[in-house]
Symmetry: C3
Subunit: 150 residues, 3 copies
């Protein structure tokens, strides 16, 4: 029974795997986005990173810090989703619901990055994308708790 749950022939696992892969690529991209901003603004946090003896370490460039805040928000929200999405898959949920929850998390976290760190869009764009993913992840967590508690 459970053995098939973690194979790509299970559409729920297939969808989770797809979105987890996409979100890992997105998160790794944040490091490159940070590096681009660091070179553009010549903002380096370590003495050994300074490209010229005239530069000094700097921690307060608003463009660098914005990308870093978006990246940290990913750590806080996407990484717990990886754990709970897998456990939710193992509770054998309705495929329709599960696939749409994974889509909601995946798409809203991509939108969150775009409106936070790529092109700044006025609120409530970021708040909305943040809450869609948060609510979907919390719903899965409560389903997982309910399945394990009884």
């Amino acid at each position: 029974m459970s053995l098939e749950l973690l194979t790509l022939s299970n559409p729920v696992f297939k969808s989770f795997t797809f979105w987890a892969g996409v979100l890992v690529v997105k998160m790794l991209g944040m490091s490159l986005l940070t590096a681009i901003q660091r070179f553009k603004t010549k903002t380096f946090a370590n003495p050994e990173d300074l490209m010229s003896p005239k530069l000094k370490v700097k921690f307060d460039d608003p463009n660098v810090e914005r990308v870093r805040r978006a990246h940290r928000n990913d750590l806080e929200n996407i990484l717990p989703f990886f754990a709970i999405g897998l456990l939710y898959t193992l509770t054998n949920p309705s495929a329709f619901l599960a696939i749409n929850l994974f889509r909601a998390v995946g798409i809203s976290r991509i939108v969150h990055t775009l409106v936070y760190a790529v092109v700044v869009v006025p609120q409530p764009a970021r708040a909305l994308s943040f809450f869609v993913a948060l609510i979907a992840t919390a719903y899965m967590a409560f389903q997982v708790i309910a399945a394990a508690a009884f």
Copy 2:
């Protein structure tokens, strides 16, 4: 053999699933706790978040920073537990030991949040709750390494 390890009929997996769900909910709650402190103290990190033209971005409110430090400590400790707890479950450990290790991590991380970010309790309350979870997680990691190395 291994197929039953990731089903809720395995009491070790059932316990891991329960505590992972509880800790994901707890971690998502840290975002709400941060938001509450931000609104209470009118401390916003992005220009687009300012509710009034009189406000300026602010990064040094001690109440906001305290919740953020507690949240970051969760990232550093709870997220590795999610990975190692699942792998430890797959090594088919003694149910009694494994369930109590998961309980120790779950309860001590909840206590850590309470004494750090909700009601500040003098040390060594935070240090103790921190080390209980750290030692339990490290023990599981060493068991996982030993199982995989030989």
Copy 3:
């Protein structure tokens, strides 16, 4: 078929489990490294942590901040690897390739910590170790996406 993928008789899973265990221990060690630097430099972030009434909270010690940057870099890179490494294992990849990818991530992340937070080594030591792990993780993520998308 899939049931054997998550057993230690699968050399790919065995290797993933080993390196995940090693990297969890390494990450937990960052907390101890931070604590050592905090006590050495008497840099504490919370009033309740101050060991003497003469001390004040301090956030800008370069030795403490260096370890914290290395630790955050672990959160950004090692934690996504835990998720994608498991999913990659479930795609049943070539054992030779997969085992060497896991080794590359494990070894390069240990080197990253050594040259960043233990003995500072001039660039490009840190950049190289960073990119080896990033490229290996991104490769696995693209393989996972390809397996799930078609």
